[in-house]
Amino acid sequence: MTANNSDVDSFNALMSRLADVSDLNEAIHLLKQIAPFYRKEVSFLVTLRDKCHSIGLISIATKFAKEVVEIKPTSENFRVVSGLLEKQGQYKQAIPYAREAVLLSQDSPALYIHLGILCSLGGDFRAAKNVMVRALEFVPSDVDALHHAGYSSEMLGELDDAVRFATRIYEFDNSKLSYAIHAANLMIRQGKCLEGAEYLEAIIADGNRSSAIHRTCSGAFSQIGEYKRATEHAILATKLDPDVAEYQLHLSCVLFESAQYRGAYDAAKTALGLDPNNWAIKRHIVTVCLELGENTEAVAHVAELLKIHPDNEEYAQCMQHVLFQRADNSIGIGELLANKAQRGERNSFRAPTFWHSIVSYLRVIRATFLREIRAKFGETRLGYLWVLVEPMIHMVVLAVVFQFTMKGSPPLGNSFFFFYFTGLIPYQLFIHTCESVSATVAQNKPLLNLPPVTNLSTMYSRGLLELYTATLVILIFTVGFLFFSVNALPKNFYSVSGALMMTWLLALGVGMINAIVMSYFHAWHHIFQIIQRFLYFTSGIFYVPGAMDLHIREILWWNPLLHSVDWFRTGYFEMYQPPWLSIEFLGLSTAVALAAGLLLEASCRKSLRRTV
C-alpha cells in the first residue's frame, strides 16, 4: 500500500512536473518515467493526451486520444481525435471521427463545419458541400461555412451555388470585398460577364469601392466588348491605386482595344515604369508601338526582350514582323485624304452611252487582235513565212500524189496547184479559225482580270486574225500564181468573198461551241480532231463532188464545208456550176452554229468568268 502510496505520490509529482514542463526533451524524459504507471483511465489518458498535444507530440497525443474515445465515446472526444489527425494532414482518417462527433451532437454547427472542412481538405467536395449546407441551417452567416461551401461548389463545377455562397458572405459582411470580387469572377467564368459587372457596379454604387473591384469590373466589361465602360473602370482602378503595374497594363489593353493607341501607349509606359522588368508589359508596348507606327521604339523593345529571352520563338517572330514593317506610314497622306474627303465625288465619270459601249467593245477587240497578231508572228520573223509555208507544203504533197495517180489534168482548170489551192483555202480558214476560237476560254483566263476583256471579245479578235491571215495568204498566193502565169484572179469576186465570209462565220460559231463544250468536257478536243480529219476527206478539197457516186454525194451533201469549198470554186472557175451547191444550206448551218455558240457563251458566261 505504501509502495502504492509512494507510487501515487511520485506519479502525481511526475504528472505535475509534466504539466509545467515546456521543454520537449524533458517532457519525453518524464513521459518515459510515467510509462510504468500507464493505465486505461480517462482522466489519466486525457491529461497525457492534452499534454502531448500542447507540447507538439501530436502523433502520441493522437494515440492517447483514440484510447480515450474507446473508453468514453463522447462527441467532444471524437472531435479531439479528428482535430489531431487533421493537424497531421490525415484528413481522410479524421473524417470518421468527425462524423461520429457530429452524430453524437447533431445541433453543433462547429462540428459540422469541422467535418465539412475535413471533407473539403480530403477532396470529397460533394460531402463537404452537403455538410456545410447543413451547418448553414444553424449559422447562416458563418464565413467559414460559406467559404467552404462555396469552395466545394466551385470544385464541383456548380458555379451558380459558388456565386450564391460568395455573395452571401459579402451580404453579411460588407468589409469582405474580396468575396464580392470572387463572386464576380465566378460569374465571368460562367460567361455571365455583364451580370458580374453589374453586380460589382451595384456594390460600387453603395459606396463600397476598391481598386480591385474596378479592375474586375473593367475586366468583365472588356470580355463582352464593352470597352468604353471597361475603360472607365480601368481608369478608376488606376486612380485609386496608381502604383499597381497590372492595373496600368490592363488600362492600356482596354484602351488599345478601343483603338485609343496614344492613351494605351501612355498607360503601358506607366506600367513599365512601375515594373521595369515585366516582359509581358514590354511585349504589349511593342504591339502598341506598331499600331502607332513607332517602329523604331518597337524594335528597341523587342531587342530587349530577345536579349533576355534569346530562345523565345514568339519574340523572334515578333522581331521579324517588326522589322518587316516598312515605313509606309511615312508617306503622310492624312492631309491629302482630308482634302479629298472635303472635295467629295470626283465627277469625271460619265455613264457610257450605247455608242460609247460599242466603241469601247471594238477598242478591246482591236487591242486583243493586235496582241494576238504579235503573239502569233512576233516571236520570229519566220512566223509570217510559216503561214505561207504550211498551205504550200500541203499543196505540193497533194499535187505530187495526185499528179501521178490522176495522170492528166485536174478536175477544174489546168493547174493541180491552183485546184488544190481553191480547196485548201476555205478548209484551212475553217480549221484555223475553229481551233483558235476553241482555245479561247482555256487561254483567255489571265486577260479576264481586265474586266473590259471578255471571252467573246477575244473570240472575235482571234477569229478576225485568222480571217486577216487567210486574206493575206490568198493575196500572196494569187501574186505567186500570176508570176507562174496561172490565172488566179477570181472571176466572181462576190462568190469568193461570200464563201470566205460564210465559212469564217461558220467556223466562228463552231469554235464558240467547241470552246464552251471543251471547258466542261475536255475530251471534246480529241473528238473534234477526229471530226476534222473526217472533214478533210469529205469537203472536196482534192476532188470535185461531181466525181462521186450519187448516193455518196447525197451523204456528203450534209457537210456544210463541202458547200463552202464548192461556192469558193465557183468564184474562180466560171464553168463550174455544181447543181448540188446549196448556199442556203451553208447559210442555215452557219446561222444555227453561230446562234448556238452565242447562246452557249451567254448562258455559261458567269461560270466561265470564274478564274479562281
Binding site: D328, N329, I331, K606
Partner: protein, 221 residues
C-alpha cells in the same frame, strides 16, 4: 461610287461552298480610300474582283459609277513572247488610254531602259513587277484596286512607287485588301470588314482594326 444591290456570291473549294457575299447591299462612296479586312478565306480577293467586274455576282447587281482599275501590279496579263512595251500597249488600248502617254510614263517609271523592247519572258520577276506596277499607275482610273501591296525593288524604288501612288490619289480613290494593318492604316481613311457574307463599314480604320482583331481573337479561342 460603287453600288452593290442584293449581291450574293459564293465559290466552291474542294470541300465546301464558300460564301463571300450573301444578299449584301452597300455603297462604296467615292472620296475615300477604303481598306477591306477579313479573315483568311473570307473572300476578300473575290470581293475585289466583284468590284472590278472581273467576276460576276451569282445574284444581284453591281453598278460602277466610276472607272475601276484592275488589281494594281497585276502582271498576269503579260504575254511572255511580247515585249514589255507591247504588253503595256495592249492594256492601254483595252482601257482606251492614250497609248503613247502610257508608254512614256512606263518607260520613265519602270527604269527598264532597253528591256522595254525585249520579250517579257526575258525579264526577272522584279523587272516584270516594276513593269506591272508602272502600267497600273500609268492609266488614269477613278478607283485603283490593291490586292496585297507587293513590295517592288529597293527602298528607293518603293519610295518612287509610293510617291506616284500618292500623286494618283489626289484625284482617285483606293480600295485595298491587305494583311498588313500598317499598310491599310497608311493608305486608307475608311475600313470595312468582310465576314459572314456581309461587308460592314466603319468610320475609322482604327475602329475597324480593333473590331477585326477581336473577331479574329474570338474565332481562334
Amino acid at each position: 461610287m460603287i453600288l452593290f444591290e442584293n449581291v450574293s456570291k459564293s465559290y466552291r473549294t474542294s470541300n465546301a461552298a464558300k460564301v463571300v457575299l450573301d444578299k449584301a447591299t452597300f455603297t462604296i462612296p467615292s472620296g475615300y480610300n477604303l481598306g477591306i479586312l477579313g479573315g483568311n478565306g473570307a473572300g476578300k480577293s473575290t470581293l475585289l474582283r466583284l468590284i472590278s467586274g472581273a467576276e460576276q455576282p451569282d445574284r444581284g447587281r453591281v453598278a460602277r459609277r466610276a472607272r475601276v482599275s484592275f488589281p494594281i501590279g497585276f502582271g498576269g496579263t503579260f504575254h511572255g513572247h511580247l515585249t514589255g512595251k507591247q504588253n503595256v500597249l495592249f492594256v492601254a488600248r483595252v482601257y482606251g488610254a492614250d497609248a503613247s502617254k502610257v508608254v512614256e510614263f512606263v518607260r520613265d517609271f519602270s527604269e527598264l531602259g532597253d528591256y522595254l523592247n525585249m520579250p517579257v519572258n526575258t525579264y526577272s520577276s522584279g523587272m516584270a513587277a516594276k513593269l506591272a506596277f508602272g502600267m497600273s499607275l500609268a492609266i488614269d482610273f477613278d478607283i485603283y484596286l490593291v490586292d496585297e501591296v507587293t513590295e517592288v525593288g529597293d527602298a528607293r524604288f518603293r519610295k518612287k512607287c509610293a510617291d506616284a501612288f500618292v500623286e494618283r490619289m489626289k484625284r482617285s480613290d483606293i480600295i485595298m485588301v491587305s494583311h498588313n494593318s500598317q499598310t491599310i492604316k497608311a493608305y486608307c481613311d475608311r475600313a470595312a470588314i468582310l465576314s459572314n457574307g456581309q461587308l460592314d463599314f466603319f468610320e475609322s480604320v482604327d475602329e475597324a482594326m480593333a473590331a477585326h482583331r477581336r473577331m479574329m481573337g474570338a474565332s481562334n479561342a
